[in-house]
C-alpha cells in the first residue's frame, strides 16, 4: 500500500513524485518507458553510447538524477491497464511489468501526458507515415532521422521542430506543409513573447529550413498519401480559412516518409476510467478532467497534472506537478514548505496556450476525410460506414462504435475517436460536449490473458464428484 502513486514519469509526474516523497509520503512512480522523461525529455536508447548534449537531454538527465537520489519507488517498463476505486476510497491499479499484479494507494496522481491528433486522409495507414510526435520519439530515443526524403505536414510548432531536426540528424526534407497560415503565426506571436528563449528556438528552426531551401506550403493540407506498400509521395491542396480543401489546387510532392499530425490532445483514458468528471475545452486541446487550480479532480484522492489535464506544454508541466503534489500533501494533512511561483506558471501557461491555439481543429478538416478513407485503422472502418451509421440514427461515438466496431481495436480508439467526433459534428451540428466520448473501458493498453489472469494451479480447481448414475 502506497500513500501516493503517480502514473506517468514525464516532467509533471516525476516532479510530483519527488516532492511527495521529500515530504515523507511513501510514493511510487509508474511509467511504460525504461526511465523518466516522458515524451519531451525522452530517455536515449542504450545503443547510444555518446552523443552531443542538448538542452532537452540536460533537463531530462537532471530530472532522472533527482529521481534516483529520491526515495520514490520507480516502476519502469510497467503499464497500468485498469484503475478501480475500492470501498474504503483507496485506489487499486492493475499493472503488467511489475512483480505485483495489483498496487493500492491512498492518493493517485494521473500524469499521462498528451496523445497525438491525426486527421485520416486516403493512404495515411501506409508504412512510412509517422506521427509528428512519433518522429520526435525517434529523434530523442534513437537520434535518427527517417531515411530518404521526408515530407512534414500538419500544424502547430511541432512541424518546424520535426523538419529542422530531420535536417540536423542528416535526413532530407522535401517540403513542409502547414495548415496554419503565416497570419495564424503572426497572431500567436504576442502571446508567445512571454518566452523569448523559445521564440528564438522556433526562429532558428524556420531559419534552418530557409537556409536549406526547404519549400514551406502555408495554408495547405495533405489530400492523399500515395504509394502501394510504402509512401511514394503526397498530393497536397490549398485550404481555406476553415481548413477545408480548395478545389483545383492539387500538387504532387515526392517523398518516402511523411511525418504527419495536427496537434496534441490530453491523454484522458486514465482519468476517465477512474471515473472523474471531464469537459470539452478546445483551448486546452480537447477533453480534460475538470480540476481545481492545484489539480484536484471531481473525485477525492484523484489528481491530474501535466498535459493530460490540458495542453499547456513542457514549460508548465513541472510546475503543475508541484501543484498537484502540494494538493496531495495538504489533503493528507502535511504542510508543504515550498510554494509554487504562480507568476512563472502563468507565463508558461500563456506560452503553451498560444502553441495549442494553432492546432485547434477547424470545421473544414472533416472534408479531407474522403468516403473511402480508413478512419479506424485497427478495424479498417471507412468513412462511408460511419456516415451510414449517423444517417441511420447514430448520434454518439458509443452508437457508432456498436454499429461499426470503430474504436474497438487494439489502439482503444485513440486514433479514430477525434475523427469520428469531427464527422458527427459535421453531420449533426451538435457540439463536441453534446457528442461526448465513448464509455471508458479497460484495458488502458492491450494485455495478454497471461498478464491479467491470476496464478492458477490446476490442482486447486474444484472437481465435482462422479455423477451417481
Amino acid at each position: 500500500m502506497f500513500d501516493a502513486i503517480v502514473i506517468g514519469a514525464g516532467p509533471a509526474g516525476a516532479n510530483a513524485a519527488i516532492i511527495l516523497s521529500e515530504n515523507g509520503l511513501k510514493t511510487a512512480l509508474i511509467d511504460e518507458q525504461r526511465d523518466a522523461g516522458g515524451q519531451v525529455w525522452r530517455v536515449k536508447s542504450k545503443s547510444i553510447l555518446k552523443a552531443p548534449i542538448t538542452e532537452a537531454v540536460e533537463q531530462g538527465d537532471a530530472l532522472r538524477d533527482r529521481l534516483k537520489s529520491s526515495n520514490v519507488t520507480a516502476k519502469f517498463n510497467c503499464r497500468v491497464w485498469h484503475i478501480e476505486r475500492q470501498e474504503n476510497g483507496h485506489w487499486q491499479l492493475s499493472v503488467v511489468g511489475d512483480s505485483e499484479k495489483k498496487l493500492t494507494t491512498k492518493a493517485l496522481i494521473i500524469a499521462t501526458g498528451a496523445q497525438e491528433r491525426v486527421i485520416p486522409v486516403p493512404g495515411w495507414t501506409l508504412p512510412g507515415v509517422f506521427g509528428l510526435a512519433g518522429a520526435t520519439a525517434l529523434f530523442k530515443e534513437h537520434m535518427m532521422a527517417p531515411m530518404r526524403r521526408t515530407i512534414v505536414a500538419g500544424n502547430g510548432p511541432l512541424l518546424f521542430y520535426v523538419a529542422s531536426e530531420t535536417l540536423r540528424l542528416g535526413g532530407r526534407v522535401s517540403a513542409v506543409i502547414s495548415l496554419n497560415s503565416r497570419m495564424d503565426w503572426l497572431k500567436s506571436l504576442p502571446a508567445m513573447l512571454s518566452n523569448p528563449a523559445l521564440i528564438g528556438q522556433g526562429l532558428k528552426w524556420i531559419f534552418t529550413l530557409y537556409k536549406n531551401r526547404i519549400p514551406i506550403y502555408w495554408q495547405h493540407a495533405i489530400k492523399a498519401v500515395e504509394g502501394e506498400n510504402t509512401v511514394d509521395g503526397v498530393t497536397i491542396c490549398k485550404v481555406d480559412q476553415d481548413w477545408a480543401p480548395v478545389a483545383g489546387t492539387d500538387q504532387y510532392i515526392h517523398g518516402e516518409n511523411l511525418c504527419y499530425g495536427q496537434g496534441l490532445m490530453p491523454a484522458v483514458e486514465a482519468t476517465r476510467l477512474a471515473g472523474a468528471d471531464h469537459h470539452y475545452d478546445e483551448k486546452l486541446g480537447g477533453w480534460v478532467p475538470t480540476i481545481d487550480q492545484w489539480g484536484r479532480t471531481s473525485m477525492s484522492g484523484l489528481y491530474a497534472c501535466g498535459d493530460n489535464a490540458g495542453i499547456y506544454g513542457a514549460l508548465a508541466a513541472p510546475i503543475r506537478g508541484s501543484l498537484a503534489a502540494e494538493a496531495v500533501c495538504e489533503d493528507a494533512g502535511i504542510n508543504l514548505k515550498k510554494r509554487v511561483d504562480s507568476k512563472k506558471l502563468k507565463a508558461a501557461k500563456n506560452f503553451g496556450l498560444a502553441a495549442t491555439a494553432l492546432t485547434i481543429p477547424r470545421s473544414g478538416l472533416e472534408a479531407l476525410i474522403t468516403d473511402e478513407t480508413e478512419v479506424c485503422r485497427c478495424e479498417g472502418i471507412i468513412r462511408q460506414e460511419i456516415d451510414f451509421e449517423i444517417k441511420t440514427g447514430a448520434q454518439s461515438p458509443n452508437a457508432i462504435k456498436s454499429g461499426t466496431r470503430c474504436g474497438m481495436g487494439p489502439c482503444g480508439g485513440r486514433y479514430c475517436m477525434e475523427a469520428i467526433a469531427l464527422i458527427t459534428q459535421h453531420r449533426t451540428r451538435k457540439t463536441r460536449e453534446e457528442i461526448g466520448l465513448p464509455t471508458a473501458r479497460p484495458p488502458l493498453r492491450p494485455v495478454t490473458i497471461d498478464d491479467i489472469s491470476d496464478d492458477l494451479d490446476y490442482d486447486d480447481l474444484p472437481i465435482p464428484g462422479v455423477s451417481p448414475l
Binding site: 545503443s47 508504412p127 525517434l138 532521422a145 506498400n229 510504402t230 485503422r377 485497427c378 479498417g380 495478454t448
Partner: protein
Amino acid sequence: MTDGNNDHILRSKEISFIFDGVSVTGHDGETVAAALLRGGITHLRNAPNSGTPRGMFCIMGACQECVIEIDGRKVEACRTTISEGLVIRRVPDV
C-alpha cells in the same frame, strides 16, 4: 534511417537478428522498430479486415500498428529491444 552527418554520435556494436526469415543488423540495445527502419524495412504486417499494409506509426507504444511476433507473443516493435539472434516473425494476416 540515416545517421547522415552524425559521426559525433557513438553507437553500440552491431548485432544481427532475424525478421521474417531475413537477417537484419542493428545496434545492441536499440528497439526493433529503430533497427528495421535503419534497414529500410517499414512494411511489417497487413491489417485485418482491410488487408492494407502497415508499419510503425506512433513509435511510442500507443497505436499498436507495429506489432510483431516473438516466441508466439505479439509485442510492439517500438518497445522491444533487439538481441543477437532474436527471431521475429510477421504477425499473420487474418
